[in-house]
């Protein structure tokens, strides 16, 4: 891909600068070099991939799944009930302007160090973009098209499935693309606050060991999870919206 040439170049320059800087400064617990991180990653690959990654992944999947079910349900409910829309929509929007994540520590008190405290943080952070994406999508349905389908005698549920749901997909996927990286961040923050395994937990724990490379290694994997999940969503989106492409 020639168009990414400059990016790859820049990235390489950045990595090399980092490596050189890290070697010059030479305090690996403050600034480990990319090389040290890679080596650490290799050393720890078993424990990270077989123990901590599954724990984090469980949090991410559960959190996203619950957000999806809840968010889509509420979006549809708001779409069909004017009262619900008027009651919920302003609150949803307002909730986005407040640092709701500051509530995360409370979850630890409510759910203890179980997976649910981290799932709750993940839901808290991913619920909004999914709900708003779906709802705005449903609302974006072309009114004239909807009326046209009515004149063809289609029932309300036919119109919902054949017109409104497909109309909502682009906006829904936009929301999902925001939510997916957020879910990784949510899981990591949840794990900082109290956990016994998981990549966020491991990274924080390495901090207490003054192991700089060990702090970065799980972050590299977390980033990788974020990118992979994002690409998965892109692929699903492409499948559903394939009619858009040339």
């Amino acid at each position: 891909m020639k168009r990414y040439m400059y990016s790859v170049l820049l990235l390489s320059v950045m990595l090399i600068t980092w490596e050189v800087m890290a070697r010059l400064v030479d305090v690996s617990f403050i600034l480990p070099s990319p090389m040290q991180i890679s080596i650490k990653l290799w050393e720890l690959k078993d424990v990270l991939l077989q123990h901590h990654l599954p724990a984090t992944f469980a949090v991410i999947s559960l959190g996203l799944a619950i957000s999806l079910v809840l968010g889509i349900a509420i979006a549809i409910a708001m779409h069909y009930s004017k009262v619900l829309e008027q009651a919920l929509y302003p609150l949803l929007i307002t909730s986005q302007t407040i640092p709701i994540i500051a509530l995360a520590p409370i979850f630890v008190l409510w759910f203890g160090y179980t997976i649910w405290s981290k799932v709750a943080v993940t839901i808290l952070i991913t619920f909004f973009p999914i709900t708003i994406g779906m709802f705005d999508g449903l609302r974006s349905t072309d009114k004239e098209l909807k009326e046209l389908l009515q004149t063809f005698g289609l029932t309300r549920s036919q119109i919902f499935l054949k017109l409104e749901v497909p109309s909502a997909l682009p906006s829904f996927f936009s929301g999902l693309k925001v939510a997916v990286p957020m879910s990784v961040i949510g899981a990591a923050i949840g794990e900082w606050l109290g956990a016994q395994s998981g990549l966020g937990y491991f990274s924080r724990r390495m901090m207490t060991q003054f192991d700089g490379a060990g702090v970065f290694a799980p972050i590299v994997i977390l980033s990788f999870v974020g990118i992979v999940l994002f690409i998965v969503v892109l692929i699903i989106e492409k499948y559903f919206l394939k009619w858009r492409k040339k």
Binding site: V27, L109, G112, Y113, G194, A195, Y201, Q209, F210
Partner: protein
């Protein structure tokens, strides 16, 4: 004009930051006395105290040169130096035996470390606590494998009383115990020294090698002032406590006077030394380092002579 003279006033003093091990409490009375009574100023020092947001910040920020000194725990200092080569030096021993006790709710008393098997134990993410539990459980003939360790960061007390865990390690006999009691939570504790853990220094002060090179004189001056503070605290513990309590405003950690008084009483014997407050003994460092080595927490005992400096009165 007055602003200019103010600037000069400040320039006269050498600025120093000390990161405490925790929010200010009785164990820091001597520091606040030294500040309040002007002992630091007499030495030409302008000292600022910081409190850590992260349990490991006093060591890591001292090592990174972001604070002049940090209050830390002897076993953790040894590990950091041995395992990661963190460039720090210990300059003073403040509390000379463990405060870290195993605390449990009195409605579920734990008479013997053996009973920890099958229980959930909260700890603040520091591996040493795992070793303490391991040492006392195994010295009592139990199996560490059967203990469920849970990282609860700083929320030791809340996790215990909210029954998220059955016991906690990392809690201090001079702080969490009287604090929880004063709030009506009945708790009991086990002293790890009774079950095979060496009587390590609970609190030491560390600085980075670089800072030591640059500010050796000032650090020595600091401890001269601190000793004066400690002498005062020893003789007038009530007044010393009052100075500490006066320091706190609502923005700070609100302290309970009775709790802190009890704390001072527990602390004083553990802080006093025949050789002088804050002096260090090489043997203590060696004993602790060997215990850590035996438990696999470090591979090599670091060079103690390089690690510590003994600032004599």
């Amino acid at each position: 004009q007055s602003e200019g003279s103010n600037d000069k006033e400040q320039n006269k003093y050498h600025k120093m930051t000390l990161m405490l091990d925790w929010y200010p409490n009785a164990v820091h009375s001597y520091l606040y006395v030294a500040k309040e009574k002007g002992y630091f100023e007499e030495e030409g020092l302008d000292v600022e105290f910081q409190f850590p947001a992260n349990p490991t910040d006093p060591l890591s920020l001292a090592a990174a040169g972001k604070v002049t000194m940090g209050m830390y725990y002897q076993p953790d200092v040894i590990q950091a130096v041995a395992n990661e080569g963190i460039p720090v030096k210990a300059v003073a021993a403040v509390v000379r035996s463990p405060l870290n006790h195993i605390v449990f709710r009195a409605d579920q008393p734990i008479g013997n470390p053996l009973e920890l098997e099958g229980k959930k134990i909260g700890y603040p993410g520091i591996p040493l606590n795992e070793t303490i539990i391991k040492t006392i459980v195994e010295n009592s003939g139990g199996s560490y494998e059967k203990v469920d360790m849970v990282n609860v960061e700083f929320e030791l007390g809340s996790s215990l009383v909210s029954k998220k865990v059955d016991a906690v390690v990392g809690a201090y006999v001079n702080h969490e115990v009287p604090q929880l009691k004063s709030e009506g939570h009945d708790v009991g504790y086990i002293n790890p020294v009774d079950y095979g853990v060496p009587s390590y220094y609970e609190l030491v002060a560390v600085t980075s090698e670089k800072t030591w090179e640059k500010e050796q004189k000032e650090i020595e001056a600091f401890w001269r002032a601190a000793r004066k503070g400690f002498d005062f605290m020893e003789k007038n513990s009530e007044e010393a406590l009052q100075i500490l309590l006066n320091q706190q405003d609502e923005a700070n950690f609100p302290l309970n006077k009775d709790v802190e008084m009890e704390s001072i009483n527990i602390l004083l014997p553990k802080m006093k030394s025949e050789l002088g407050f804050a002096t260090q003994e090489k043997s203590s460092w060696e004993e602790t380092a060997n215990w850590l080595k035996d438990n696999g927490l470090i591979e090599e005992v670091p060079n103690i002579d390089e690690l510590i400096v003994n600032i004599l009165p």
